[in-house]
């Protein structure tokens, strides 16, 4: 018996409608609104799939699952059968808005095991934290970034189990992947 091959798509949601006054590199990576959950995200992706690829697309790639979604970092992992991952990827690329806000979904990694996707997600999160710290230290508009993240970071840090006061490296990022098969709906 050949087992079903899957692909895990790690994606970031970027918010391109940042205010032009404080254009910093971090400004596009914002936490998602609270009403964006795994369920509503799955529904939105399915709607886009149906709009772009019709019934055929739903039939091919409709059996995806949102394995993980963190609104604090706007990062998530999708699972899809290997044959159809490009279809689902294109669907993500064609998405324009989520819960009323314009978004751009960027696929960061496609991998064969959820473990690798998870490792990559942690790595990206660490890089993000490092970048914010560097910009804060450099002081070049770091205040603007800090202000933007003031509400979000505390939440993000709590959620990611990150040690806020620890300034000399050793960033610990944890993820909580819901490993339930099938759709969240």
């Amino acid at each position: 018996m050949v087992r079903v091959k899957q692909r895990y798509i790690l994606f970031n949601i970027l918010y391109p409608s940042a205010p032009a006054s404080s254009l910093q590199s971090m400004v596009f990576c914002r936490p998602s609104p609270t009403n964006l959950t795994r369920t509503s995200l799955a529904a939105a992706i399915r709607a886009s799939l149906s709009h772009n690829f019709g019934d055929w697309g739903i039939g091919q790639a409709g059996s995806f699952a949102v394995k993980y979604f963190s609104p604090a970092t706007s990062t998530g992992i999708l699972r899809i059968t290997r044959d159809n991952y490009r279809l689902l990827w294109a669907t993500l690329t064609f998405m324009r808005e989520l819960s009323g806000q314009p978004v751009v979904i960027k696929v960061a990694r496609v991998s064969g095991t959820i473990r690798k996707a998870e490792v990559e997600a942690v790595k990206l999160a660490e890089e993000t934290i490092r970048r914010v710290r560097r910009e804060e230290r450099a002081g070049s508009g770091g205040a603007a970034v800090a202000a933007l993240f003031a509400g979000a970071t505390s939440k993000a840090k709590a959620e990611m189990g990150q040690n806020a006061g620890d300034s000399d490296g050793e960033i610990v990022v944890e993820m909580d992947i819901v490993d339930s098969d099938g759709d969240p709906e």
Binding site: L14, P16, S17, A18, A20, L23, Q24, S25, V27, F28, H51, N52, R86, W89, A90, L92, T93, F94, R96, P102, V103, V104, I105, K106, V107
Partner: protein, 319 residues
């Protein structure tokens, strides 16, 4: 290195443009061409159309390189567009033909670097390899812009069919993909674009070439056309004050890109440089045939690779 060769220029104070630029940097692009569209009639006097784009438009983006590009909309076959004079002011000169006759003209004899068809509308004719192949053999590439298809469902349909037809007709060669995004929300990350290209009928490899090697070749080829001696030889460093370290060692070596042409070119170089002191130069063979491997270029590009250095040394030893 990822390229986006089409970002419409509006003005320096436009917040949307600067937001788009920062967003592109965030998505991972390295080189961005700011595009100035030229439409309507060009009289012979106005052929020297001024470049409204400043030399360094966004100095606060150190990670990005900016090119300046002009796109001429062709709508009258009888008009002389004076494209050659445009290339003095711009890094890349592109044309946008509006019907079949003009497409043929652009493919066969217009002096441009890029043919940019508006693929979000329906064309009443088919793309034929006979026509497009002529452009490809001259080293001119075709551009597919995806931004319109992000916004509008109708444009998306047309783009899908047109892009598939264009890729079928060109056999996937000589196609580049850029955005033409008028807002930050219309840009997509490089790998997402490659995935879109696979949807249009390119494979992963060619999709990658469409956003990395292809645009790079366009950029370098345009530069060679503009600066070099008959598009063949370019003086990168004409002697002058010796630079420290690495360069000093190479002063006397000529880096040559093609072995067979080596000796003859080296001789010609001596004449072109016309200087007694040895000069470090880069030669290159006929631009179109080289495609993505042009050794010439500027700051980031002009460092010879290891292979070229060795080759250069060999030539020096022989001479």
């Amino acid at each position: 290195m990822f390229y986006d060769l089409n970002i419409p220029w509006t003005s320096k104070d436009d917040p949307e443009l600067s937001r788009t630029i920062v967003f592109l940097a965030e998505l991972g692009y390295n080189v961005i061409a700011l595009n100035q569209t030229i439409a309507g009639k060009i009289t012979s006097k106005a052929a020297n159309i001024a470049n409204v784009i400043p030399e360094a438009p966004f100095p606060d983006q150190p990670g990005l390189r900016f090119l300046r590009r002009a796109t001429v909309i062709l709508d009258d076959p009888s008009q002389n567009y004076g494209l050659a004079s445009l290339s003095n002011n711009f890094d890349i000169v592109a044309v946008r033909p509006t019907d079949e006759k003009l497409l043929l003209q652009a493919c066969t004899n217009l002096e441009c670097d890029l043919i940019s068809l508006d693929l979000s509308i329906r064309y009443p004719f088919h793309f034929k390899y006979k026509v497009l192949g002529q452009a490809i053999s001259r080293g001119i590439r075709f551009e597919i812009t995806y931004a319109a298809s992000i916004n509008d469902s109708n444009a998306r349909r047309n783009l899908l069919s047109n892009a598939a037809a264009l890729i079928r007709a060109t056999k996937g060669k000589g196609v580049i993909v850029s955005s033409e995004a008028r807002a930050a929300a219309q840009c997509r990350a490089p790998f997402d674009v490659i995935n879109l290209a696979t949807l249009w009928g390119l494979n992963q490899e060619k999709g990658n070439a469409a956003i990395v090697n292809g645009p790079r070749a366009v950029m370098l080829q345009a530069k060679m056309k503009r600066q070099s001696f008959r598009g063949v030889i370019d003086v990168v460093d004409g002697g002058g004050a010796p630079r420290p370290k690495r360069d000093a060692q190479q002063q006397s070596t000529a880096t040559i890109s093609q072995k067979s042409l080596g000796k003859r070119k080296a001789a010609v170089e001596g004449k072109v440089a016309g200087a007694e002191e040895p000069a470090k130069e880069l030669t290159k063979a006929d631009a179109p045939s080289m495609n993505g491997k042009l050794p010439g270029g500027d700051n980031s590009e002009n460092r010879p690779t290891k292979k070229q250095k060795q080759k250069g040394k060999k030539v020096a030893d022989r001479g």
